[in-house]
Symmetry: C2
Subunit: 492 residues, 2 copies
């Protein structure tokens, strides 16, 4: 049953890397830092996409598509944004290859096809989008613009890990334009709420909502809101960000609108995004030493039926029943796979679906047929039970709901157990260098202190929680006064 | 009512370019040859995607995602494919920018960040995918692999037009691997049928299914199947292709499998794709001098309700009724927009939705309220009728079905009228240089004749129809014997 999977206790990082590959989610490609998302992994991403897309549309957003490339002159227009991404971007300099004069089977870059202006493969699309919005916005009547884009982006990361940090990744990026500062702030807060709701209800992953300190802010933002989750190894993972961009991009691209009163003002902006990084968060939040554990809301199939049989005759009888069950469950909105392959033994299949995190497994053998029962196994608790077929229509949806809740509660418990207050520098270091987790501590608000803490412990301020309680205290590092605790952790 | 749209008779090409922009479908971006797909255009693309995706899954395919970049050494592995795309590809040579030493507000490519091996932005993904499949395929048990990818690709076209030919475009590309030649051929033919069904049933666009001549084949394919449609101006448009790739890519990437008998054999391949080019085909097939005409199956909303009122009191009464109608129709699966904006007059709205091709428009005024009626206008015929509210639940779905059929029939009629047989070179030239359209003519099967015909008339062989009738004849150009007619046309 061990599936040759390194255990979490042995080496959490190795466990993760192995699991992603063994559960058929993704693998490294022949291109440095870029991944191949395999069908099973992509099916989870499709579920994530479908649900988020629904939530974006319900909150008034529409999808559109903007170019992959950003000309260098546009890229550099918003200085902080450009500075933030310049060091890790893929640059297109030529538009043609030609046959290698020294070897006719090879190609070389054609020096005659050099671009006059280099193109940057988008690391994020504010620049190209605000250059476009300039043409769309004349008056207050043109606002708000509420647009989302599903796209690939490229950031030339030096150290990459499947889903968590890859040179190319898939994401959605919302880019909105507003006539007032407060409306833009409301939008960034609304989208933070959407992300938090998605994380908790669908990924079964509890998150802290907060704002980033200046040093952790998105390059070009006035305020960065974020959701932060705690992984099983005590490290934090930033799962989504929503930025209030002020008028920075409107100024960089000269985007003004005529107010109702006829004045010309710069437009207010937000942007917000989540990426295939969520796949990493999902995997690390719930999975165990037997493999992946998926919340029912995001599982490619929620139930797998495995027949236990000897010979074709038994398989035929069991298949008949299995197809009945499948169709009964599908009518209830449950997704079901019936694995009737004759090339693999039941034990192999049990292993496989455990590794792949299918929430519920139904096994049917000849004795079950005789008794009008099935064996039901939960992936989250590994519990097995015998269920009468007449009770299945009630039991399956109920158990799926149970699993979804149990996963959330388990993750919330883990977070509670691994969230600690630190009031002295000794305490702080002890926790961070020990089991890690979230540390609630007072901070004096200076970037200098933040940087020193990072240098000495590798812990960063994950966020200043939106619901932080006003409380007089002293900075855990400098001893200077502070009025609320912030969340520290080592992070992915 | 003219909306300042150039008429088709005046200048078909200008009409198209204007329509795409005025109907809010797409626009040119700040990046040479790359388009911005606007929300209304993207909503149509989403409908296309959703339906195709469903059809792909129903035929056993799964989605996955492969890298955007192809290292040069992989790109050049399949020689014909490489040769076919080398002249029009975007090449990434560097992975970092740095501050311009001469101007601290500018960025320049950092010469120290030159890639050891250049990366090609995928113009198509056979190379990167077959390099991946190599790791996935050991035995016949691993076959078939039936994968599709939704992605962006880049081909550095010199002359671009919105949707029809852009440097970056969106598409889907299926890439399948099989253990036998015949299974791979069956797959390419199956996907051609899927494309044809989609074009005819959903786009209401009749297509000819056929195979390409050698000179028009996809670079690296053994056989290219295609669907060809006829636009209103008498030019053909290739709307989708499905390639039987033989063992070309398996050989180039050394992908072998162990047969049941234990022999090692190269794998058989197909690939197939349609792109945002379909948007161009859709627009040009149905639209008229008043603007876009959309088939109900692909319209972002099928019905728009426009209130005709004076003052808030009338609007309130009409709105109440409009929301009732909206909800009644939505329960029937009809998508409805109620435009109750007070910032635009009804006449403006009528124009706008005509321009945007909304299949049905409902207008409601105070007299309608009194009479329990609405005014219904069909976009395809521009006919108006008064419908009793009690009949709406029957009338709307029926009329939508009617419109869908009428659009197909109209396009089919146009094609029939513009498909002609040519038996002499004079006839051939007269038709091609006249109204154009499809010309059915005998061809001697030689690339030389094909090329000469192209040079003299700009007409190309669109395809050899799958249902071509065996018939003795002589080549319209060379006089050499031929056994079936092929389809010639000028093409997009």
């Amino acid at each position: 049953m061990a599936k040759n999977l390194t255990t979490r206790a042995e080496d959490y990082s190795k466990w993760y890397n192995e699991l992603v590959v063994k559960a058929d989610l993704a693998e490294n490609s022949g291109v440095r830092g870029c991944m191949v998302i395999k069908p099973y992994g992509y099916a989870i991403w499709e579920k994530i996409q479908a649900q988020l897309d629904k939530m974006f549309k319900e909150t008034g957003h529409e999808n559109a598509y903007f170019p992959l490339f950003v000309p260098k002159s546009l890229f550099e227009a918003e200085e902080k944004n450009a500075e933030g991404f310049a060091k890790e971007c893929a640059v297109v300099t030529h538009y043609r290859l030609k046959t290698d004069p020294d070897d006719s089977t090879k190609l070389v870059v054609d020096p005659d096809a050099k671009l006059e202006e280099e193109l940057i493969v988008r690391p994020t699309s504010e620049a190209i989008i605000w250059n476009t919005y300039k043409g769309w916005i004349q008056s207050y009547r043109d606002l708000p613009i509420l647009i989302n884009q599903w796209a690939n982006v490229v950031r030339w990361e030096m150290r990459t890990r499947l889903f968590l940090r890859t040179a190319e990744f898939l994401w959605q990026e919302g880019h909105t334009a507003h006539s007032t500062r407060s409306e833009a702030i409301q939008e960034s807060e609304l989208m933070l709420k959407v992300y938090a709701e998605f994380a908790e209800k669908f990924m079964a992953m509890p998150v802290i909502q907060g704002i980033k300190t200046e040093s952790e802010r998105f390059a070009g933002a006035v305020e960065t809101y974020c959701i932060e989750a705690l992984m099983q190894d005590g490290k934090a993972l930033q799962a989504g960000t929503s930025h209030f961009l002020g008028q920075n991009f409107a100024k960089a691209f000269d985007v003004k609108f005529a107010t109702k009163e006829g004045k010309k003002e710069h437009v207010w902006a937000t942007s917000w995004g989540v990426s295939t990084r969520l796949m990493g968060a999902l995997i690390m939040t719930h999975s165990d030493d037997n493999g992946l554990v998926l919340p029912p809301h995001l599982a490619p199939y929620q139930v797998v039926i495995v027949p236990i049989y000897k010979g074709q005759e038994q398989l035929d009888l069991i298949s008949e029943k299995a197809f009945e069950i499948k169709s009964e469950l599908e009518n209830l909105g449950v997704s079901v796979k019936f694995d009737n392959r004759d090339t693999h033994k039941p034990g192999w299949k049990f292993n496989e679906y455990e590794l792949k995190g299918v929430p519920l497994r139904i096994a049917i053998g000849p004795r079950d047929l005789a008794n009008n029962t099935i064996e039901l196994a939960r992936r989250d608790t590994l519990e097995k039970s015998i269920v009468n077929l007449d009770d299945l229509a009630e039991a399956i949806p109920k158990t799926l709901k149970d699993i979804q809740e149990n996963l959330f509660n388990r993750a919330a418990d883990h977070r509670t157990k691994n969230t600690n207050k630190a009031d002295t520098w000794e305490e702080f270091k002890e926790i961070i260098n020990g089991d890690g987790g979230f540390v609630e501590a007072h901070w004096d608000g200076s970037a200098e202190t933040e940087e020193k803490i990072k240098q000495e412990t590798k812990a960063t301020i994950r966020c200043i929680p939106l619901d932080a309680i006003e409380e007089a205290g002293v900075c855990v590092y400098s001893g200077n006064p502070s009025n609320k605790r912030v969340i520290f952790a080592k992070a992915y």
